[in-house]
């Protein structure tokens, strides 16, 4: 069944998975969620981009927002904040337009460029979906950061594509087993909104048995 998307994973989950595989499992397998100031900021940033019925044409550029995307090979689906289609002779024909276009996704993010790769892998996954849906090659895409109000160009390499592919493979593996991996604590725990649900310190404390025996 080609269109059986029951087992498809949320594309945006890859950023959680890259940040912490346990965080991803808590959100996507255990369906837990908690807000903190960072997640609220993120929502706010996306509100601006999330306007599915707004379609702009500026010169040789067509701007589409909140575009649903999927990849059958990665078994994922999601939404691109913004996809810009440039009229280009090496592009592909797209629905409702004449001429050929080159798609370039732009993902909106709160804050400024991060040290980790979580935003990048999400963008690469979006690129791979668009490439699969439109049968084209996308050499580069953009991350727009709210704090610096600028976009950062990301070159899409085959190495990145392979990494995203293997990450999805592992996500599907965990998801099929409904397995929540144990925590690997680190600095990133401080900014995690799920800290109180995850209880990262839990696994480092003494055994429950010896805790109970103290009360005898």
């Amino acid at each position: 069944m080609v269109n059986d998307d029951v087992d498809y994973l949320m594309l945006s989950g890859i950023q959680h998975f890259r940040f912490c595989s346990r965080q991803w499992a808590l959100i996507h397998i255990e369906q837990q969620w908690a807000e903190n100031v960072l997640t609220i900021e993120g929502q706010h940033v996306h509100e601006k981009a999330d306007q599915p019925f707004l379609r702009e044409k500026r010169g040789n550029k067509l701007i589409v927002r909140a575009m649903p995307i999927r990849s059958h090979s990665l078994k994922t689906n999601g939404i691109c904040d913004v996809v810009e289609f440039y009229e280009h002779k090496d592009g592909v024909p797209i629905h409702g337009e004449t001429g050929t276009y080159l798609p370039i996704p732009v993902e909106y993010k709160r804050g400024k460029p991060k040290r980790g790769q979580e935003d990048v892998v999400q963008l690469v996954a979006q690129v791979m979906c668009l490439e699969e849906m439109l049968l084209c090659d996308i050499p580069a895409a953009y991350l727009f950061y709210d704090e610096i109000k600028r976009r950062v160009k990301v070159d899409i390499t085959d190495e990145m594509r392979n990494e995203v592919q293997s990450m999805f493979k592992q996500m599907h593996h965990y998801f099929d087993r409904r397995h929540t991996p144990k925590v690997k604590t680190g600095k990133h725990c401080v900014s995690c909104s799920l800290q109180n649900l995850c209880m990262p310190e839990l696994m480092s404390s003494t055994t429950v048995r010896s805790y109970m025996e103290r009360y005898l």
Binding site: L197, M199, E201, M203, R209, Y211, M212, L216
Partner: protein
């Protein structure tokens, strides 16, 4: 840990609750008695025939605010619950283990262990704090009996035997309950535990404290995605929040009994707070109940260091912490459920 918000208690009957903007509006016969921002609350609890508008129910469900309807005497009637937390994997694990006697017993014994441990330390504290008012050798003897029971519980994998050990310990503990009442002995005395209806002032207070605690534990369990109705020690019975009763076992003594003793021993309740019916049933007056609930709420704001998590939290969040710990055990993060142990 999450932030503990207030609970709005409506103790007067015939109050109507509605939503205006972001506020809960409290009205009585078309007269507005008050309005409060909804985001200040994590629960709304009504006693008596209070009504609520669908719009308010909608907002409560959406914001995960627990809206509970209790009868005037505090018996649970109904609750507004939003979309159940999507954690179906957790609940299936919960159900699967509940079908297995040995697995159930492994969880249940930790509830019971903690219940008895906490009772033991209530006795020990009493013996330490009021050596001139109580029969210390007797307290010490029961305390050591409880220790013996605790040791037996740790190695028990049989539910019936657990229930037996728990029953014996409860009898021994309640035998000393009357001695822990140090003030106004003429109106506050304890012969045995009775309920539905309670027939003395102390039992009336215990019943109300257990009701308040049960409602806190139920919502804590539901908040983390557990099914409050499927338990390990308490068997399934339609309409009974068995898991809430399970988790409550370890908190009864330390959160409810001690609170009731404090209300009595600090003379915070008087004889005028009770009415006795012709058949002996004892009810709290509206004023009495209001006073009790107010003190209960204040108690929830006091803080402690959680003995297992080593984290400073409010007493009101203890049920929540235990619910999370139980969920994490069921999902395989910890090797055993760590109950709440107090000293």
């Amino acid at each position: 840990m999450k932030k503990l918000l207030n609970t709005l208690f409506i103790t007067t009957p015939d109050i109507y609750l509605s939503l205006k903007g972001e506020n809960v509006v409290i009205t009585h016969e078309n007269q507005q008695l008050g309005r409060f921002p909804l985001h200040n609350f994590e629960a709304i609890c009504t006693f008596g025939y209070a009504g609520a508008s669908p719009k308010l129910m909608y907002a409560c469900a959406e914001k995960n605010i627990n809206l509970t309807f209790l009868s005037r005497s505090g018996r649970f009637l109904a609750r507004v619950v939003g979309e159940s937390k999507g954690n179906v994997i957790l609940r299936k694990t919960q159900y699967r283990l509940s079908e297995n006697e040995v697995e159930s017993a492994k969880i249940a014994r930790n509830f019971i262990f903690a219940k008895i441990a906490n009772q033991k330390w209530i006795l020990e504290r009493m013996a330490r704090d009021y050596p001139l008012r109580i029969d210390v050798p007797m307290f010490k003897q029961v305390s050591s009996e409880l220790t013996t029971a605790m040791k037996a519980i740790l190695v028990t994998e049989d539910l019936e035997r657990l229930r037996g050990l728990e029953g014996q310990a409860a009898t021994a503990y309640f035998k000393l309950f009357d001695q822990m009442i140090l003030q106004q002995k003429d109106i506050f005395y304890f012969r045995n535990r009775n309920r539905r209806p309670p027939t003395d002032n102390v039992n009336a207070l215990l019943s109300l404290a257990y009701t308040l605690l049960a409602s806190d534990v139920t919502s804590a369990l539901e908040t983390v995605g557990l099914d409050a109705y499927v338990g390990y020690l308490h068997r399934d019975r339609p309409g009974r929040a068995s898991l809430a009763l399970d988790v409550m076992e370890e908190l009864r003594g330390v959160m409810a009994d001690r609170f009731v003793l404090k209300m009595i021993n600090k003379k915070m309740m008087q004889s005028t707070d009770f009415v006795q019916k012709e058949n002996g049933a004892v009810l709290l007056t509206d004023d009495g109940r209001r006073k009790f609930i107010k003190a209960w709420q204040e108690r929830k704001q006091e803080s402690l260091t959680h003995p297992y998590l080593n984290e400073k939290i409010n007493w009101g969040l203890v049920p929540h912490a235990q619910a999370i710990l139980l969920a994490r055990y069921l999902r395989g993060d910890i090797e055993e459920y760590p109950p709440f142990l107090w000293k």
